[in-house]
């Protein structure tokens, strides 16, 4: 699916409580003195693919385990599908499917039998969903083989089928593409986007793979050392979190004339030399690149190339984590936060 291969467009993150499928406030998990999750305020809007991005050991799985009631929170509050946890755990989890770490099954049972086990716990009506769920993930033909004969990729698919038994409004997937081959990863991405775009499900996807989050997700939170460093739409995160700035790299035949021309243009927010050419920060939407080109041509500047700069979440991620490495948590705290933007710089 072409969409899965492109970076999601920035769109406002709804902050209305009714639009939030996951909401935590001051959520903390301590193991002795060490805080694995440290006063996290997470807000995941409904109907999107939301990435939970962080390096190994950042606290992603611990966060997921708390949300699913697998471990108790030390402090703070959580709401899942509008239900407070743990008070309304059963109601909250009824329409939630999850894969935590690698999907595990009874190896001596077949794929179908493993789903029967979970269907029995979910309720009698769920059994009718076993066959369609297996078909959905492409395991119908091998559903009666014992799981111990499944490859890791097949187990991942069976894990997704197990999630689908809940007819989930929310899927929580922890490192879901581990063990999948490239074709499987691509299919998986397509399935996630279909679930979000055509079925209205929300997918909360934890990963340490920047590329994966960037390609699948609409929005993300970057977590490191138990703290959410920043969260918001992917494009805003990549742009720096204080509003989207579209940039161009220009190749011109007269650099000085181009600099003076662009400096006088309202369309241009900033322009400077770089190794690649002139780096132009647009004041407006990407379409203003055409107007910049026209202005240069009118001024007699030959435009040899005009390339939009694709902001990378990886750049942003490395920038954020490198600031933390330098003890720069305070730098983030003091970074300007756009009140109207959904990209929030959060410190605990």
């Amino acid at each position: 699916m072409a969409r899965a291969a492109t970076v999601r467009q920035s769109r406002p993150m709804p902050l209305n409580e009714q639009d939030l499928i996951i909401e935590t406030a001051g959520l903390t998990k301590r193991f002795g003195e060490r805080a694995a999750i440290d006063r996290v305020d997470l807000r995941v809007p409904r109907g999107c693919a939301f990435g939970f991005l962080g390096p190994n050991g950042a606290g992603k799985t611990t966060m997921i385990r708390m949300l699913l009631g697998l471990t108790h929170a030390s402090a703070g509050s959580m709401r899942l599908l509008g239900h407070p946890l743990p008070a309304e755990r059963a109601a909250a989890l009824r329409r939630v499917g999850a894969i935590v770490e690698e999907p595990r099954f009874h190896p001596h049972l077949s794929g179908r039998e493993n789903l029967r086990i979970v269907a029995a716990a979910r309720g009698p009506e769920v059994r009718a969903r076993i066959a369609p769920a297996l078909a959905r993930v492409g395991l119908a033909e091998r559903a009666d083989e014992k799981v111990k004969r499944y490859s890791l990729g097949m187990r991942q698919r069976l894990g997704v089928a197990r999630c689908l038994l809940a007819d989930p409004l929310l899927l929580i997937l922890d490192e879901p593409t581990n063990g999948l081959d490239p074709a499987g990863i691509q299919e998986f991405r397509e399935m996630i986007r279909t679930m979000v775009e055509h079925e209205g499900r929300t997918v909360f996807l934890s990963s340490h793979l920047l590329d994966e989050v960037e390609k699948i997700c609409d929005a993300a939170a970057i977590v490191d050392r138990g703290r959410i460093v920043t969260q918001g739409p992917i494009a805003e995160l990549a742009a720096g979190g204080d509003g989207v700035r579209h940039e161009l790299i220009l190749g011109v035949d007269d650099v000085e004339l181009a600099l003076s021309t662009l400096a006088a243009e309202d369309l241009v927010y900033d322009v400077r030399r770089s190794d690649e050419g002139l780096r132009v920060v647009l004041a407006g939407e990407p379409q203003t690149a055409a107007a910049v080109n026209v202005a240069l041509v009118r001024a007699g500047v030959g435009v040899l190339r005009l390339d939009p700069v694709r902001h990378s979440l990886e750049q942003r991620f490395l920038e954020v984590t490198s600031r933390l490495e330098g003890g720069g948590g305070q730098a983030l705290a003091s970074a300007p936060s756009d009140g109207g933007s959904a990209a929030e710089e959060v410190t605990a």
């Binding site: 309720g123 009506e125 769920a133 959905r136 993930v137 998986f188």
Partner: protein, 277 residues
């Protein structure tokens, strides 16, 4: 993976009565157990093989020296075989089954996936007990069938047990092994480890219990030994035989067995409810 095939939507409210849900959960847990071939085979071996060996050896002894060795079957053979099945080897099979039922989900790593369904952890724990009992009792009934075959086939001219005695013996076998199996479910749910549970309970059953029961200086404290309280319910005389050395009243025997059940079921339920999944 197909991105487009649809899965039937969930109804607005969860369906099914409590009984239906309980029956399904029992069925699921029983499925896990009965498909675990290593557990089923070893349980059958423990329950059947000693009985088969017992009858075959005694039949050979009787055929070689009838004056010294009575027939293998009959009422005597039935009594000895019952002790072997209900108080000695049957409980070992029950321990294997109970340990698998109590710790199987943890060993496979699927307990967290069951918790994520939103189903009460106590319900998940509770479903293990009847499933374990169902398999345990199926194995024991197989063993009891072998006991009856040996009793009647090798009876020769000896008296055979009455129908009432047979029914009482079935009840006794199911009670004795059922209690041990349930204790094993509770302990395995507490430890979440099959090897630890099996080692601890077999060690208790085969080594510690007979030792404690034979230390007369312990007096009434020996009543707390589970196998001694269970032996009290035997329909055939056991006192002085293997498996029964402590005399106690019926009320004490019931109380001791009930306490064992309550303690281990309570601990298993507590651990299942509170542990990190």
């Amino acid at each position: 993976m197909s991105a487009t095939e649809s899965v039937p939507p969930a109804p607005a409210r969860p369906g099914g009565s409590l009984t239906t849900v309980a029956a399904q959960m029992f069925g699921a847990d029983f499925l896990k157990l009965r498909r675990k071939l290593s557990t089923v085979i070893w349980s059958l071996v423990l329950a059947l093989a000693p009985l088969a060996i017992f009858f075959v050896v005694r039949a050979i002894q009787h055929s070689s020296t009838p004056a010294e060795h009575p027939p293998a079957g009959g009422l005597d053979g039935f009594s000895d075989g019952l002790r072997l099945l209900a108080l000695f080897m049957g409980p070992l099979a029950a321990i294997l089954i109970g340990a698998e039922a109590g710790a199987g989900d943890h060993a496979a790593g699927v307990f967290r996936d069951l918790v994520v369904t939103g189903r009460s952890r106590l319900a998940l724990f509770a479903a293990r007990v009847p499933a374990a009992l169902a398999l345990c009792w199926s194995v024991m009934l197989g063993g009891f069938a072998l006991l009856l075959i040996g009793t009647f086939v090798f009876a020769s001219n000896m008296p055979t047990p009455s129908g009432t005695l047979i029914l009482e013996a079935i009840g006794f076998t199911l009670l004795a092994t059922g209690v041990v199996c349930t204790v094993a479910v509770g302990l395995a749910s507490l430890t979440t480890s099959r090897p630890a549970t099996i080692t601890a309970l077999i060690g208790w059953q085969l080594v510690a219990s007979p030792l404690i029961a034979n230390i007369e200086s312990l007096g009434g404290a020996r009543d707390a030994v589970l196998s001694q309280s269970l032996a009290h319910f035997s329909p055939v005389a056991l006192h002085g035989h293997m498996g029964s050395v402590v005399s106690m009243g019926a009320a004490t025997a019931i109380l001791v067995a009930a306490l064992w059940l309550a303690v281990f079921l309570g601990l298993g339920a507590w651990r299942t409810r509170t542990m990190d999944a």
